[in-house]
Subunit: 523 residues, 2 copies
């Protein structure tokens, strides 16, 4: 297959070209020579090895070369467009307690917001300000002139129609802001009024319908910046953006729809006529019965929705009726990041589980237990001792550096001692409170041999053998330095469970027993 | 001139169609009849009066009809593109103290950020966290995974190249975020290292140069979404956006340029070759000597810059050197709003000054002083009495409802008593602490006549005359209600200065004397 030289070089994965911690490139595109070319290239051992015209060498996994394109999921192509009937059996929802406790539940909620544009959390404490906690559970609050949060209830002197009891037709919020907040949260504290129901419309679906039924109107709306505006005594916002925003490939990326805040377009009369015809057609589509999803928020419900995709609406309610929501804005990127990390963690747990089940069944340096049994025993001993989560995790995972399947062979130029490689690998998901006891568990053995009479004599045969390879007991100075290390106590604790976890008679729980604890510890 | 019917109707300024407080429309575009047409239209008295086919009537000022298009200033067309030599005589800067105290100074700084993309505040207190105060002086902090603020200094285990002593080539921040933070602030707390200078490049200028020199490369970059990414243990961000983002009219709107975080594009080899050639050409333009503006931030300097336009850079510095900046992100829309409100307030002060100078020279209901002298005297009396700013302002402005030039005739259907109309007009810029004493100053006279023996006898002849028109002294119930009103004391105070401010012998200061006080009170 033909390869683009600059593309290939720009993607060199070596640690000289790319920071292994965050994947950031360590060179500038302009640092590459003008006449860069592939010198030699050889496929071997599942990799393409390239020697470049400037002498640099790169190795690319063939699986990486063949990997498919993944988009960022922000355009209509990455969504599941819907009509109201798609939710005849219920809308995406979850209990607040389960959402907080179970990563899978949280991932399901965030994934629904990403795919469908919304989800409802039930049982969110009916406490003022709680909506901010919901936003902070997956992202960052976007403060605006309305504050960090805003109250939606009838106000004496409202600066916005939202704060009256009037019906509000489907719209997106804040089109006059740039960047517009991409997420909105509405937390219901009270809804005793007659009326005041909520409605949602998939604006991407409405735009897609318009494109199908009237492609010229769609194109006209996508190419016409509209002056959105809002002003009160302390605010004057203005943004010129199209109702339908396309990405450079013509995919629907954002919808802004808010009749209340469209200002004065200035074009010729014929162009204005064409725009208004298209705008009215689009507005009529958003009002179609089949697109209107209606439900009622009760106290404790928190609706999270995509404010650059979904239009939201409210029916009128009786003036005296008691209705109080609190809302805030946030952004999709923070939500997507949290979701990606949840997926990454779930994958990591799967990978670790597979390692325990696969390679873990192998012999452990001649001990009476397999390597998996050894680690599960260590974890169980830590748990039985009432150790905190992070030490149970460290005990359970302390020998992960013995596994070949961790992909550690990719970390070129690093010390491959198993405690270090294991700790480095775990650092992708766990904090230092887990990785450092793992890193130091070999040093802890060398330390205990130096300072604790009788310790060395109790070591297993294999452990006595590896002690020599690892440098033997520490000398006095090293032992003193180790003892002064802030992580010494944790490392010694893990070491003792390690030493005891070689008992063929001991029945350790299976890996799945530790999964929730590991998931908690990853946060 | 031909007019578009729906456009004209959508812009009807009547209070039935539009909330006079915030300009929000009170109807939906779909509420308009299918066959809407202009019935009759007449130009009279500077207005176009339209009777619609559905019976609605609208009146449009001819000046509004003829008003030119104003953009939101966000694309390159609204900016002043620059090369380094444009700042040979200095960069846009201001002292923190002056910026805080003087609205003109603040407006100049914010305007520089809007037009040139940056400004530097000098003498900002060298205190940790101060950068947040700078951001909050004009807008809202955008929190990210780096926190509300981030420290830029050498870190032991950096998750980002910024936190090392390495040189960093010109780039924009956070292209992997969507929406990307549109503003960045960097506040220097310490810079004692050799090196560590700052550089800025106008990315819009660089893009414009590319468009001129190599239009095909420009077009290619504008139509190619690039997968930007960043990940660390708790974060996984991804955004597919072009290096050069155009608005639907083809104007340069945003630039994202960050070699470190460009991920893997997936296209055919020929397309990748073309992209990389264009990308390298654009990168080379950003590195041209004439585009590089260099300066050094010292302690107390705070750089504010447009992160979707300017590229920022840093020279390398000695590893051990002490350099500490604190940064945060914010958004251009909040800044633009603050600037617009500052301009609006300055215009309002100009308008009020003109009213005092023009109509104010007219006779004041037969008193010995002109209306301007009367109001200036009232303001001066309040000031001499040591009244707080808001009461001096209320005394100075209490009769503004007598002026015809306030445009109050536009507020149809409202009570045109001068205290109410004046208060309503002032409410565009002043809070209730100013407007309510103005609103109540006539009621205060009727109240004092009812409850204070001898008060009525001391009224001027004109005031005695208008008392009758205004309803005469209050009855007992009304007087009790007035006394119970939380604003009664302020209104009575203003009233007393009003009553005394009719002395032809008294020399009041000119309007400009009160301008700084009014500017403060408007906040």
């Amino acid at each position: 297959m033909p390869l683009s030289a600059y593309w290939l070089r720009d993607n060199c994965p070596c640690t000289e070209c790319r920071d292994p911690r965050n994947g950031q490139k360590l060179f500038q595109i302009t640092d590459l020579p003008e006449d860069l070319a592939i010198g030699e290239s050889v496929e071997t051992d599942g990799r393409l090895e390239v020697t470049w015209s400037d002498g640099h060498r790169s190795r690319y996994p063939l699986t990486w070369l063949a990997a498919p394109q993944h988009g960022d999921g922000r355009t209509a192509e990455g969504k599941r467009l819907w009509v109201a009937a798609d939710f005849a059996r219920g809308i995406p929802e979850a209990e607040w307690g389960a959402y907080l406790a179970e990563p899978e539940e949280q991932a399901a909620v965030l994934s629904a917001v990403q795919r469908f544009g919304f989800a409802v959390l039930r049982g969110v404490p009916v406490v003022e300000g709680q909506v901010l906690k919901v936003a902070e559970s997956f992202g960052y609050v976007r403060e605006t002139n309305y504050g960090r949060l805003f109250d939606v209830r009838v106000e004496a002197d409202p600066n916005n129609l939202a704060f009256t009891s009037a019906a509000i037709a489907p719209h997106t919020d804040n089109p006059y802001r740039d960047p517009v907040p991409t997420l909105q949260l509405l937390h219901c504290l009270r809804n005793e009024a007659e009326g005041g129901d909520s409605g949602l419309v998939d604006g991407f679906r409405a735009a897609a319908v318009l494109r199908e039924e009237s492609p010229e109107d769609f194109a006209l709306l996508a190419r016409t910046p509209v002056p959105f505006g809002f002003r009160d005594r302390g605010t004057e916002l203005r943004a010129d953006r199209p109702l339908i925003d396309l990405d450079p490939l013509g995919r629907i990326r954002e919808v802004r729809f808010n009749n209340r805040s469209i200002g004065t377009l200035r074009m010729g009369a014929a162009e204005l006529d064409a725009f208004y015809a298209a705008y009215r057609r689009f507005a009529a589509v958003t009002l179609r019965r089949e697109l209107q999803l209606e439900f009622r928020l009760g106290p404790g419900d928190c609706l999270i929705f995509d404010n650059v995709r979904l239009l939201h609406a409210r029916t009128a309610f009786e003036q005296g009726g008691s209705r109080h929501l609190q809302g805030c804005y946030a952004d999709l990127d923070g939500l997507a990041s949290t979701l990606a990390v949840l997926h990454r963690r779930a994958e990591a747990l799967d990978t670790i589980a597979e390692l325990f089940a696969g390679e873990g069944a192998g012999e452990y340096l001649g001990e009476d237990v397999t390597i998996a049994e050894h680690m599960l025993q260590a974890g169980a001993l830590a748990e039985a001792a009432g150790a905190p989560d992070h030490l149970v995790a460290a005990a359970l995972l302390h020998d992960v550096g013995h596994f070949n399947g961790t992909g550690l062979e990719l970390m070129e130029g690093r010390d491959n001692r198993h405690s270090d490689t294991g700790a480095d690998w775990l650092a992708h998901w766990f904090g230092p409170e887990v990785t450092e006891p793992v890193r130091l568990h070999v040093a802890a053995k060398r330390y205990l041999c130096a300072v604790e009479p009788g310790y060395r004599e109790r070591l297993s045969e294999a452990s006595e053998y590896t002690l020599k390879v690892q440098g033997g007991p520490m000398d006095e100075a090293r032992a003193a330095a180790f003892a002064a290390h802030p992580g010494a106590a944790d490392a010694v604790a893990v070491r003792r469970w390690d030493d005891q976890a070689k008992d063929a008679a001991l029945q350790a729980p299976p890996f799945d027993h530790f999964r929730p604890l590991l998931a908690r510890t990853m946060r």
